[in-house]
Chain length 226, copies 2
DNA sequence: TCTCATATTCAACGGGTGTTGAATGAAGGA
DNA sequence: TCCTTCATTCAACACCCGTTGAATATGAGA
């Protein structure tokens, strides 16, 4: 009598749903991603998601739990005082880290979109999980100040905010606006913009503004500018 | 038979609806603000909004048309080559401008939230209306480069993006996170953070990193840090 | 007083949302 | 073969959304 009811897939495990959710979050933002859209992406019914996760917020937190700790571990390693690199090299390594983990495209938009807005509960979930990264970053800055590399009159939390927030903006904006101002491929333009940003930033926060950068000063040549 | 149908207000003109919409946009973001919420804020029925505006997007564009041109006019005045101020003074004046127009709290979140996401049509509406500001800003930078104040190896569009995007981030974040890192009042912490940011930024983009700032270097004292 | 343009509301439409509960599929063990 | 457990779907709930059309209240002018 009723239509035959058969699974569309032999097996669809928790991780597959999580991966689909990450893709949809990346496209639509956390608020804009609907359970039905995630289900469509995963190739199943929306109800199945509730078999694995309590609700939408639980998916979100599961993504954070999976993706953030590896980043935090690497930042903590950089903050280790026995790491022989200069502060500039360490901070540039953090930028590379964020660059790489954001080209796995979901996480950044997930975090950025929810860090402030998007319901206070979700905001707190983000802030709580990102705290270890923040702590390690501040340690890098304080050590840089003690070693006479970073200006001592800058509050580390602001120095960190400047660096990371702008990196997030660059990751968001430059690939989109690159064709408007350069003939470079978006990917190459992104890398250049990151280097230019770090050049400006490090010159701004270093005790010695002419201190060498951890990469050759390859800026954008005039003939590549539009 | 049916309940008596009477207006709740003697008069509610287009501007009152617009003001209510701006307040709700500021609280909820453009996407998150519902017509019914705007109507509730204005104290009328949602249908009345459609008497004055074609649809939701029309409200949004009306807000931009009302608020953006005054800012653009002031930035253009700063870009005028006959303005005798230094480039640093001009750029700091732009920051003050954005600070002031954003404490009329709606506009910034309206623009920020919609510049990238929030439907391509709305994105274009923002970009199109902000274009005059962008043009004037780039003129300021180019002039600064010709006068030997700004490093000639920086693409003006990136220099502009660094300055304004970070100012937007500061306006968003610092009032919220101030209590976590300083004993200053949020308002005062915001002003200090803006000065610190401009200090770092100008040191990064100036030809002479020790060039004087347009304000006394009043940073955050250690005893005000937490 | 009657008329008419303006201002405002009510009720509904179609569609999307997160979520739930019951029903049914497949698969493995006794 | 039967039973149980896991995986999956269907159908529905209550609610919110932007928008529309018809109805009605208001106030000014003739």
């Amino acid at each position: 009598m009723s239509a035959p009811r058969r699974p569309k897939h032999a097996r669809l495990d928790r991780d597959a749903v999580l991966a689909a959710a990450l893709r949809v979050f990346a496209r639509e933002g956390v608020e804009g991603a609907s359970m039905r859209a995630i289900a469509r992406e995963a190739g199943c019914d929306a109800s199945l998601i509730y078999y694995y996760f309590e609700n939408k917020e639980a998916i979100f937190e599961a993504i954070l739990d999976e993706r953030v700790p590896p980043i935090a571990r690497q930042v903590r390693r950089l903050a280790n005082p026995r790491d022989p690199r200069t502060t500039a090299e360490k901070l540039w390594a953090v930028i590379r880290l964020f660059h790489d983990h954001a080209s796995d495209p979901g996480l950044r938009s997930v975090i950025k979109g929810q860090a402030l807005r998007g319901g206070p509960s979700m905001g707190n979930a983000v802030v709580r999980r990102l705290l270890p990264i923040q702590v390690a970053m501040r340690a890098i800055f304080r050590r840089g100040q003690r070693r006479g590399e970073v200006r001592p009159d800058l509050p580390p939390i602001l120095a960190m905010m400047f660096l990371l927030r702008m990196e997030a903006e660059i990751l968001d904006l430059v690939p989109v606006m690159a064709p408007a101002f350069t003939t470079l491929e978006p990917e190459e333009a992104l890398l250049r913009a990151e280097r230019i940003w770090f050049d400006v930033y490090w010159r701004g926060i270093a005790v010695d503004p002419s201190a060498p950068l951890p990469f050759p000063p390859a800026l954008i040549a005039p003939e590549e500018l539009r």
